[in-house]
Symmetry: C2
């Protein structure tokens, strides 16, 4: 049997082109590419502005079933499909999210894709990359410092120090910073108060950067951030602290999308990385729109499974940015179907057609949900070496019985030539214009009704549990002018329900709302169902212990 190469081994063997050559494929001249090393660049804001008149390409969303420990390969399929489209002669690019640096020192960092469907340079993308997250950290913490500084110098805005809702952020897994008391040590250090840090990807600044159309839009959104409340609960905004201008300056470069390449030297935009629970979990609007102006097809992905990621992609990102997907790919694996069918991870090696059939219910629910958005869905079966013919047939038959189709894809092992059937079919669908995209709810529906709509139509829950305090809070925000905002659900990604252990396609469950948060700058109301961790911790043996440079100067232990 052939020895498999690891993702990092494959990535290091990549024959990368100078980034200027990737830019040239898209018609971006060297003067409009801001290089970061020889294999990464930002696309200049000036260039982007000049493309406004271009026709848009077709947008293809890659989503997935609920994630299982078996792994689905959503990013791998996104990258593979991009390469596949290029291989069949289409002009296509992929748009994915940036990775967060901090978590790499806890668990191993991740490739962008896998096998022969990856985006490179892998090391840089897991470390500082082009500095976007550092810029977001700086902008966020400048606002934090200005809040305490305002209080220190007289607090003319009358901020209630018990009601400061803007925390600080760091791109690090540091549980000690979750809950802290600041400004100890006497008069010169300010007024002591309880505070805390989130990880940078959880920052509202991240969500804002990813939803903004340009720097002007960015500054307006930053200005709308609610940082605190007065004693009589009047919101205090970033703009009142006059922080929006300086934050925009700090984010000026970070707003420009990053261009890198796949292993097959096709363009990949890697930009933005908001949490997929308390935020919308998609790459930036600027990157997606830029890619659409420069390509005939753009393949992008959304976080987690389709119940969270695709729903937010459509109800938040597409709504805000005026985008509409022309086709949607749902990634599934035979192994994940088996886990949904009740098989334990250690038993995944054995053929189990019955379990595949049982587990397909989860996939079927997602197909049905996606169709509800008016967009055709194709299932991509991301092939694993142990999948049997009978298992694959069982899955394909099930999908056919749902009025859709499933296509076996071998991009992980073969690169673009393993995914040309999917690429061809997706291009056909996108070109056919059959998609009639519609969002799940209108802007002017009440906030509670929007939550109910998602819970009922996507999660298939029987009841939504929200106590009076939460309903009152939603009502208050509606009075304050936030009724038109979409909902950003934060619940477990492992189930349609709020119970992570409930696989398959559960019904009859309830959705208890624990908390609601207003992201006035990003422009959504976060509905928290269950525990959501916004500052991770490090494990007993963090991966940092084995990360180092080897004798050749290569990074060991990061992957």
């Amino acid at each position: 049997m052939m020895a498999f190469k690891t993702d990092i081994e494959i990535a290091r063997e990549a024959k990368k082109l100078p980034i200027q050559e990737i830019g040239a494929k898209l018609g971006i001249g060297p003067e409009d590419l801001v290089p970061y090393g020889h294999d990464k660049a930002k696309v200049s804001a000036d260039f982007i502005a000049r493309q406004a008149g271009n026709k848009n390409g077709k947008l293809i969303l890659v989503t997935a079933i609920n994630p299982t420990p078996a792994g689905e390969g959503k990013t791998t399929t996104t990258v593979g499909l991009g390469d596949g489209l290029n291989a069949i002669g289409k002009k296509a690019a992929v748009c994915i999210r940036e990775a967060s640096l901090g978590p790499c020192f806890g668990m191993k960092g991740g490739a962008a894709g896998g096998g022969y469907a990856q985006v490179v340079p892998m090391e840089e993308m897991n470390l500082h990359f082009t500095g976007d997250f550092h810029a977001i950290t700086s902008a966020h913490n400048l606002l934090s410092a200005l809040i305490d500084n305002h209080i220190y110098w007289g607090n003319s805005l009358d901020i209630d120090i018990r009601r400061v809702v803007w925390k600080r952020v760091m791109d690090m897994n540091d549980r000690a910073l979750r809950d802290i008391v600041t400004s100890l040590g006497g008069v010169a250090n300010g007024f002591p108060r309880q505070a805390g840090f989130d990880i940078t990807v959880a920052s509202e600044v991240m969500a804002i950067l990813c939803l903004s159309n340009d720097l002007e839009d960015l500054q307006e959104r930053l200005g709308r951030i609610i940082v605190a409340y007065t004693r009589d609960r009047k919101p205090v905004t970033c703009k009142e602290l006059k922080a929006d201008g300086a934050m925009t300056v700090l984010l000026k470069d970070a707003m420009q999308p990053n261009l890198v390449q796949t292993l097959e030297n096709n363009p990949a935009f890697v930009h933005g990385g908001p949490f997929a629970n308390i935020a919308h979990g998609c790459n930036s609007v600027v990157a997606t729109k830029t890619a659409l102006k420069l390509n005939d097809y753009v393949v992008t992905e959304a976080g987690f499974g389709a119940d969270l990621g695709a729903e937010k992609f459509m109800n938040i990102k597409c709504r805000k940015a005026g985008l509409a997907p022309a086709a949607i790919v749902i990634v599934a694996t035979i192994r994940a179907m088996k886990m949904n069918g009740g098989v334990k991870k250690q038993d995944l090696g054995a053929e189990n057609v019955a379990a595949v059939k049982d587990g397909c219910a989860n996939l079927g629910r997602h197909i049905e949900n996606i169709k509800g958005f008016g967009v055709p869905a194709v299932v991509a079966i991301n092939h694993f070496a142990g999948d049997t013919e009978a298992e694959i047939k069982a899955c394909k038959d099930y999908v056919a019985s749902q009025g859709s189709e499933a296509i076996l894809c071998k991009h992980w092992a073969e690169g673009s030539k393993g995914i040309q059937e999917l690429a061809t079919r997706v291009a056909q669908i996108a070109d056919s214009g059959v998609a009639q995209f519609q969002m799940l709810y209108p802007d002017d529906m009440s906030l509670m009704k929007k939550i109910e709509t998602i819970a009922k139509r996507i999660y298939r829950a029987d009841e939504r549990l929200a106590d009076k305090k939460i309903r009152d809070q939603l009502a208050q925000w509606e009075e304050q002018g936030f009724r038109d905002l979409p909902i950003c659900m934060a619940k477990t990604q492992y189930s349609f329900s709020t119970d992570a252990n409930l696989r398959g396609a559960p019904t009859g469950h309830s959705v208890p709302i624990r908390e609601v948060r207003l992201s006035a700058g990003a422009g959504f109301v976060v509905v928290v169902c269950g525990e959501i961790m916004t500052m991770p911790g490090l494990p007993r043996v963090p991966s940092s212990e084995s990360i180092m440079l080897n004798d050749e100067g290569l990074i060991e232990g990061l992957f």
Copy 2:
């Protein structure tokens, strides 16, 4: 009268060359320049390693009298002298420090130089630049997180949580973070303890990066950092936490020196920015050594006045890196002489030859001190428009009476053509080989004796006040093997004494030592005399309030 242009106006009119052309002047090919945009680059570690066999150029240090509110223009003169040397046909580069981002949002950010002697791009150098400080922040805070994580998971190293000496850092002026309690909120968040943040430039990681010869040296030094003590006061190091490898990975790119250019398109290395009080206040050893391998003359500067900056440059940086200056320039201004002579800032406009003469005592002391290092000193009088002939003559005569010479320099207004006399003279001195560099004290002198030597020979203090606790601490470190370390004095930069208001050339004062700190990784003992602030605060009206992008996309309010 001609209307003067501001530094930023001049900087924006600069005819910058592509950074590859600047690299080419030094023989650095495009493949060895890691670009960050079109006007900034890092010089690859590979290229640097290949230059090991080159002959070294001559090192010229620019230092100054004690700073006054009148401004001296040390960086301006450093940059001007570099341009001046190039203008007279010499191959020369300048080496200066990077700016810290955080403070720019409190007070206005600074140019690197001024007038027609500046390094560009100015905006980027005051903001994220090439991300070095962000990398230092990440590496520092990874170690911080690993300390609390170690304690959380069982504390097998037996760290005394009251004796954790490694704080966290942020590149922001945020007084609320000076003194905090972390790990509140229950079992899952760790063990509550008192902690705090410094600003990033105060991080020992910054000092280490600036003193390391290469990545291997960097990792060894990082490993030696003392992060905490056990209950029985045994030091716990970074290496014991296995953090040194991952920190080195995070700093891999940051270790490569940054190349930019002066307004006259001459090469400028801008790399590293350690505090000049609790650290040694010089640009990186890697940058200086690289510049020396590629140029006949390298002009660099040290922080604050010569009593702090030049002393540390020679006793710490030169000692550690095996460097020796061939000539030293002491920058003075007529205005600063007058302030040293007792004139108030508002009266500086009026001619006052007597005050110049009185104030020259400060300059004279610095000349004498510099000569004590065996290196010839030339005084650069950085010309201001209001200086009178009589005042300039008084200063020149005084310097001549001290056996040195003062040269009037008009680089601020005229660029290189205003400083050719100084450039010519400095090159002559450097070429003459007359310098016989010697450090102030040998490695094997006791720590207390080293402190006394600096206080006596540089500050001209009569007594050193150190209570028993401090003497015991120094003795303990000597027993632990740290006797050979040099001393890093942290005192006010405004006076030879520890009293900021004592201008001129005071004698008979005493130097009270408040605290000593061991920077085992950087390799020096910090001796704190007086209050040293390692986390600044923001003013009542921070400059962030007026920083914004204007309609042309240019940054307003940063300068």
